[in-house]
């Protein structure tokens, strides 16, 4: 029977590859592939050769172990990792009633995950394959070990979480070892952080060398050293300087991988039940084409009213905007966010004037970091637009709307969502530093900065999301429709995608930025600082012109798009 699973895997991959290859007969896909391959080649061959005698990077292991710790914490804290267990509806239909041992299903799931892992190992090799220290093969093995271990951890964590939610106290007894380890690690981490945080924060004010020393010392704290040991072990091979060091580092890394494998395989009793439920949830999502991981959840009862009432008459495309906004933000959720922001912001603002109190500054720094992440990664994450709705391409195309109106309103919905999220974070950051005397900016400048964010982020977000939606319309067979892929095994893909889209966005912003700068240079002599107004207006006008051209073009493509090519 396991031969059947191997056959299923092999034939699925072969057919998928041949289908994608057939798409290359379309010039658009071929051009994209050639450009993509060229860009990857540029990254790989464009890496500077290592300077003679360069170390593999003393920071690889400590920084890598901290990042890995963060990923593992996220796996345990976030609730979305049940996707790791999900089977497709066809797999549930054929495999679950089939006379297969549960372990075969677990192995099948792991085998499918390996395809993704190997693909992402290849991406990481392109991105970082020519760094000093190791041969490409040894580096690839090190990356594979790291990603596979994390993927297994994600699967195991999902099994533990599901077992707990489904079996209550029995689940706790059944999982006492796993839970005990997690609780002990969490406690030790909290103890260690409590001890080292003041020193690291103080060092952060003194500059990078001091911070590096402080972090190195902090990692030697007994509690942190114990908690971080497994993370150092799985990252260790990546930091090796040569084959001998690599072999020594691989032993504990492979040991941990083997332990994870045993952990997951021993969880097989809970696997089928958990997988069935996760698959059911995914099938439900697919049936109804959930657009994003941040959709409004309804625990029961009627959902609250959408943000605004939709009048029966008016521009019809507003209905799409209304619909997509209702998918992520309704009145109850908006009210809760506003209340939370008001309470947190008021507290932060009150504390910001006290030079002894670092809490507001820490919260501000965290929110600012998060704002940066949202600005860069948000367009991948917020998907209440065509990337969710293309699964309903037939329905959209039957609506009495021109293609450009559909593209514009769909994109506007996710741009509005992303902007609201960014504005909430920006306001919180502003309040955290409201009375901070140590900040070089005057209160007026801080307010101006906030105003600048409010003014510029909506059009920039619209352009960024237009690029993502454009990719979905131009390459429906390549772009994932529905919720974004999650998990450590796809981090390489996400990094690459984000980089490509950020470069494209930067290219699109060049002309508006040049127009704005030109206008400022021309008018500054006459208007002084007031020249900023016409300069921003000039930049926004060029940006708007670009957006109109793009929307029109994408609308045209949407009207002719092959809906059958949409990748569900």
């Amino acid at each position: 029977m396991t031969g059947a699973l191997g056959y299923l895997t092999f034939r699925s991959v072969a057919n998928r590859v041949s289908r994608q290859a057939a798409r290359l007969r379309t010039p658009r896909y071929l051009l994209a592939l050639v450009l993509g391959a060229g860009w990857l080649g540029f990254i790989f061959w464009g890496q500077q050769p290592p300077p003679p005698g360069a170390a593999a990077g003393a920071w690889v292991v400590p920084a890598g172990s901290l990042i890995t710790l963060g990923l593992v914490l996220w796996i345990w804290v976030s609730g979305g990792d049940r996707a790791a267990l999900a089977f497709s509806p066809a797999e549930v239909t054929f495999l679950f009633p089939a006379p297969l041992p549960r372990r075969a299903l677990v192995r099948y799931k792991l085998l499918r995950t390996q395809l993704l892992v190997l693909f992402n190992v290849a991406i990481w090799m392109v991105v970082a394959g020519r760094r000093p220290g190791l041969s490409p093969l040894l580096r690839a093995c090190a990356i594979w070990t790291l990603i596979t271990t994390l993927a297994l951890h994600r699967l195991g964590a999902a099994l533990v979480r599901t077992s707990l939610t489904q079996h209550g106290r029995f689940g706790i007894r059944h999982r006492v070892l796993s839970i005990g380890l997690v609780v002990a690690a969490g406690g030790a981490l909290a103890w260690g952080l409590h001890d080292v945080a003041p020193g690291v924060l103080a060092a952060a004010r003194l500059g990078e060398p001091a911070l590096r020393d402080a972090v190195s010392r902090a990692l030697e704290h007994p509690a942190l050293a114990v908690v971080l040991w497994p993370f150092r072990a799985i990252v260790g091979p990546l930091g090796a300087d040569g084959p001998a060091e690599w072999r020594a580092a691989m032993l504990p890394a492979l040991g941990l991988l083997a332990l994870h494998y045993v952990w997951v395989m021993r969880s097989d009793a809970a696997f089928e039940e958990a997988a069935a439920e996760a698959s059911l949830a995914r099938a439900r999502r697919r049936d109804t084409r959930k657009a994003s991981g941040m959709l409004v959840r309804h625990a029961g009862g009627a959902p609250s009213a959408p943000l605004f009432a939709l009048a029966p008459l008016g521009w019809p495309a507003t209905a799409l905007f209304w619909k997509n906004l209702a998918a992520v933000l309704r009145r109850r959720r908006a009210r809760n966010i506003l209340l939370g922001l008001a309470a947190g912001g008021a507290a932060a603002a009150a504390m910001s004037g006290d030079p002894e109190n670092t809490l507001a500054r820490m919260a501000g720094a965290l929110a600012l970091t998060w704002l940066g992440f949202v600005a860069a990664l948000g367009p991948q994450w917020v998907r209440n637009d065509l990337r969710g709705d293309l699964a309903h391409a037939d329905l959209l195309r039957s609506y009495p709307l021109p293609g450009w109106a559909i593209v514009a309103s769909e994109t506007a919905a996710s741009a509005a969502t992303l902007t609201l999220l960014e504005l909430a974070l920006a306001v919180f950051v502003y309040l955290c530093y409201l009375q901070d005397p140590s900040l070089a900016l005057s209160p007026g400048e801080r307010l101006g900065l906030l105003g600048g964010v409010a003014l510029l982020m909506p059009p920039i977000n619209f352009m960024a999301l237009l690029l993502y939606n454009g990719a979905a319309v131009l390459f429906p067979a390549w772009v994932r429709i529905g919720a974004a892929a999650t998990g450590v095994e796809v981090l390489g893909q996400r990094l690459l995608t984000t980089t490509v889209f950020l470069i494209l966005l930067a290219l699109l912003l060049m002309a508006p930025a040049a127009a704005g700068l030109g206008a400022y240079e021309a008018l500054a002599g006459v208007l002084g600082g007031w020249a900023l107004g016409p300069a921003v207006a000039a930049g926004l006008a060029i940006l708007a012109a670009e957006a109109v051209l793009l929307v029109r073009r994408l609308g045209h493509v949407f009207e002719r798009m092959d809906a059958a090519a949409v990748r569900a």
């Binding site: 029966p312 507003t318 309903h392 039957s398 709307l401 809906a563």
Partner: protein, 245 residues
């Protein structure tokens, strides 16, 4: 009125529909029948503006679908066999959404009546995920009927409905036709087609095999006289002996 003239559709080298011409008049119900892969769904999707014809002209209520798609789509509704709904909109919100898309000023007053007609009145604040398959189908039908389209395209409209739902759906189709809509429905349920449709269009391998009322189709074919539509269909598509024991 739906007018289809010399319509052809190619998928790569595959000719899904070939030189198809027919008219569905206002107040008329036409049944689109044919074996799997005959081109029924392609025809319906092309009239709905989802698929672009390779050749030919399609007009809905006098509007050329290629030249003025927005005006043409304003006058039609397409109800697919698999209900496509948005998970995060309630039943009533779906109808409000469709009302705005089609600019139905009377939507607030029409919605309660439609919900009652399709037995969804008690479910107005419910999300589609909590509805049964049949109710989801009813909601999709309600969305299609809200703007009182002049052309109604139905792909297997009875799939998933219970006996009472089937009876009500049949009554709804008849009522819409009596109100002046041109109805084109595709179905494998030949007794439904026989019961509801004024004329029948039989497709085979993308070509029209016959088009007209059942008496018109059997006229000139004495061997088909007196046979039910199922037998007429099977003989016309050359599968008369396939189902015999």
């Amino acid at each position: 009125m739906i007018e289809v003239e010399s319509f052809s559709k190619l998928y790569g080298d595959l000719r899904a529909v070939q030189s198809l011409s027919f008219v569905v008049r206002s107040g008329e119900v036409v049944g689109l029948v044919g074996p799997n892969g005959a081109g029924k769904t392609t025809t319906l999707r092309s009239i709905a503006g989802i698929v672009r014809p390779t050749e030919g002209t399609i007009r809905v209520a006098g509007h050329d679908l290629a030249r003025d798609p927005v005006a043409a789509k304003h006058q039609l509704a397409f109800i697919p066999d698999e209900p496509q709904l948005f998970e995060y909109l309630t039943v009533e919100e779906h109808l409000r959404f469709v009302g705005r898309l089609y600019g139905v000023a009377e939507a607030p007053t029409r919605i309660p009546g439609l919900l009652a007609e399709l037995e969804l009145a008690g479910k107005r604040d419910v999300l589609p995920g909590e509805l049964s398959r049949g109710m989801r189908q009813k909601l999709a039908i309600a969305c299609g009927l809200l703007h009182e389209p002049e052309a109604l395209l139905l792909d297997e409209p009875l799939t998933g409905l219970d006996p009472l739902g089937i009876r009500k759906m049949k009554a709804t189709i008849v009522r819409r036709a009596e109100a002046g809509s041109a109805v084109l429905l595709s179905s494998h349920l030949l007794h439904l087609v026989e019961e509801l449709c004024h004329r029948v269009l039989i497709l085979l391998d993308g070509r029209m095999v016959a088009f007209g009322s059942i008496p018109e189709i059997v006229a000139g074919r004495p061997e088909l006289a007196g046979l039910p539509l199922e037998d007429v269909f099977l003989r016309l598509v050359g599968r008369a002996g396939d189902g015999d024991a």
